[in-house]
Subunit: 239 residues, 2 copies
């Protein structure tokens, strides 16, 4: 296993307003620095961890892009999320001390390794950090519920529109464009996440292009009408 360890500090990280240290004061930030033991580089296509691996740490995405996915006994799998800079991966492992999903890098990536025992220890000391950890877990639960809503009660066009809106919104929060994005995942991975086949994903993209809502060129997407997408997600905002 090629683990490249690099000593790093939250306090000097430009992601600190998006990541775990959000809201901590300088003193707390320094303490947190001592918890982040190292960074780890993951090559495109490689796993940060796999189902069944012993759980030891949470990971903060420093750069790059990940997917997490669960697999059934009979080989079907489901992408449960895409994680970008500043987002936390590994919360699934806490309950059973082992990971229950795979985390795969979709491009060369780097994560900050946060041994969970240290996080727990420090959050007993700092109310701010404790509460923030709780919020991060709660946010994941709320996010999952909205995905369940998407999977359970939306049709293909609505799912893809909601997906694109969510993606640009998160990218925008990281300083990227509100209207242009590069997809880091394949049509098949999008489909797995959205509960549809890759052909349906492709067809739906094509329909959006025909309708003049977006431009698509392979992984590149230009959103010409955010309102157009929003109207697809919410057919009637009235009522």
């Amino acid at each position: 296993m090629d683990v490249h360890s690099i000593k790093v500090a939250c306090s000097s990280c430009n992601l600190r307003e998006l990541c775990l240290p959000m809201g901590l004061n300088p003193e707390e930030m320094n303490k947190l620095d001592s918890v982040i033991s190292s960074r780890r580089r993951i090559k495109r296509g490689a796993a940060l961890f796999n189902t069944g691996d012993k759980f030891t740490s949470l990971y903060a995405v420093r750069s790059g892009f990940f997917k997490t996915c669960v697999t059934t006994a009979d080989g079907r799998d489901q992408v449960t999320g895409f994680q970008m800079t500043g987002e936390i991966i590994g919360l699934d492992g806490i309950v059973s001390d082992h990971h229950s999903c795979d985390a795969i890098a979709l491009e060369d990536a780097e994560v900050c390794v946060m041994p969970f025992a240290d996080v727990e220890e420090l959050s007993r000391e700092f109310t701010t950090l404790q509460h923030h950890v709780h919020k991060i877990m709660s946010r994941e639960i709320v996010r999952d519920h909205s995905v369940m809503l998407l999977l359970g009660s939306m049709r293909a066009e609505e799912r893809l529109a909601a997906f694109l809106l969510n993606l640009v919104q998160r990218l925008h929060a990281r300083g990227f464009s509100q209207s242009e994005l590069i997809l880091r995942m394949t049509r098949e991975e999008i489909g797995s996440y959205l509960g549809m086949k890759l052909e349906t994903v492709s067809r739906t993209f094509s329909k959006f292009v025909d309708d003049g809502i977006i431009d698509v060129k392979q992984r590149y997407v230009h959103i010409k009408s955010t309102d157009g997408l929003k109207q697809i997600v919410n057919p009637q905002t009235c009522r």
Copy 2:
């Protein structure tokens, strides 16, 4: 609002091995007793909380049965879970200080009210409790991922079979039969949870009856072949 407050103690509760106090020693248990401020009775059909309500407390189901559901702007809604005795409701509220779903009693119920600020304070004191709170949240995340798998990649029969197996398994852990159960929710609520229409739920039940896997009489279900259900969920366990 009809809030019936009753003073209670975890230490004498027969659910303590399923509920929050799991794994605490007697001293810790006594401390926890002081956190559980009260119980609250909820009539069938009434809400424990609604979307938008201020988040103050977690709730442990003492008796009865709940559903949680999220609603879209245009009125569609999605059941995100069913909660039975010993399970914790309200984790969705932590991230934004407001609840993001409705919690509705499906039968007359009673919950233990656990002010979250007190839970946080006590878990700074007791590593056991702190870790247990983390596990409860992680378990919810893992559960949600398996629902996403169900919604994203299973067909109607597989979904309903998986649902029934999950339900009896949880009931069995509470001392009930492994083969008989009373559904506390309507076909429509099952359908909402499983991402299918109530007619499809009904038809699928009928098919299972025709196949001799279960007996159904309204809300009563008798599972004649657990293996039959398992084979539906996992068409080929080999490979």
